[in-house]
């Protein structure tokens, strides 16, 4: 049996911005630090484990790439949720339509008694 000292480690992630990476109050400060946007996403994103409270990094990735992916994932989820709700609304309308008389509009509803009395 392996003599692991720690098991069930918690996987965590954290953003480690550059020292000179903002936040900046205005564009002049950002430019002085070399950036061309006021709020740049700088530094690295570290994914690691907590061992008795100590963070031990496993991999690092450029932070802006990670946050880009998060944003894309959020947009995809929102898009899927919107599509799902649209489909659900469509199927509900279809179900309601199966059990009811064909809706020919308010004018036809009003005209129907007149037609039957004539017949």
């Amino acid at each position: 049996m392996a003599d692991y000292t720690h098991t069930d480690l918690q996987l965590v992630g954290r953003h480690v911005p550059d020292e000179g990476g903002g936040p900046f109050e205005n564009m002049n400060q950002a430019m002085a630090a070399g950036h061309d946007v006021v709020n740049p996403v700088t530094g690295m994103y570290e994914i690691g484990v907590l061992i008795e409270g100590a963070f031990v990094p496993l991999i690092t990735e450029k932070a802006s790439l990670v946050f880009d992916r998060i944003e894309i994932a959020k947009q995809a989820q929102a898009s899927q949720a919107e599509t799902a709700s649209t489909q659900a609304a469509g199927s509900t309308q279809a179900n309601e339509g199966e059990g009811a008389q064909p809706d020919t509009g308010p004018l036809s509803d009003q005209a129907a008694p007149t037609d039957s009395s004539q017949g």
Binding site: D18, M31, A33, G34, H35, V37, P40, T42, K62, S64
Partner: protein, 159 residues
């Protein structure tokens, strides 16, 4: 992707490049100078230009500097130099990849083409006109560049 193209003749431009033999003959010492140019907030675009003396002012006026390469702490798509001594045209290379040694890049290039003048040279007085730019697939990357140069007492590019 980035690459370097050599123009044998660029009309109107008298670019300052030296041969390694000339650099060796005029060598005084070596120097590593930090320059914290960063990539643009727009992915793939060049970031703001940063002067070679913006973060480290140890360039000496009157001395000549032959840039043999640079080191980075983070891989980026391209790091480029430009300045009036090189006709204000960019030249540079991909940085931080395991397959590209940037610390001696221009020296290695010189070794491949020994008869060409491929080592960029500038005067310490002009360090403020030597501009570095970073382009990367990620936004606002800060590769933390250290320019590696040979300091010369005389202009190695003039010979």
């Amino acid at each position: 992707m980035s690459w370097l193209t050599e123009y044998q003749d660029l009309p109107g431009v008298q670019a300052s490049f030296a041969n390694w033999n000339s650099v060796q003959a005029n060598r005084f010492t070596e120097i590593g100078v930090a320059c914290n140019a960063v990539a643009s907030g727009t992915k793939g675009a060049y970031g703001a230009t940063r002067a070679a003396n913006a973060d480290d002012t140890r360039w000496t006026g009157g001395r000549w500097y032959a840039v043999i390469g640079f080191t980075v702490q983070l891989p980026v798509t391209t790091i480029s130099f430009k300045g009036p001594m090189w006709g204000n045209f960019r030249f540079g290379l991909p940085a931080g990849l395991p397959t590209v040694s940037t610390a001696n890049y221009f020296l290695d290039l010189q070794r491949q083409y020994p008869n060409e003048n491929l080592i960029p040279v500038f005067n310490g007085y002009d360090a403020g006109s030597v501009l570095l730019e970073v382009a990367d697939a990620a936004a606002s990357t800060s590769p933390k560049i250290d320019i590696i140069a040979v300091e010369c007492k005389n202009n190695p590019a003039s010979g």
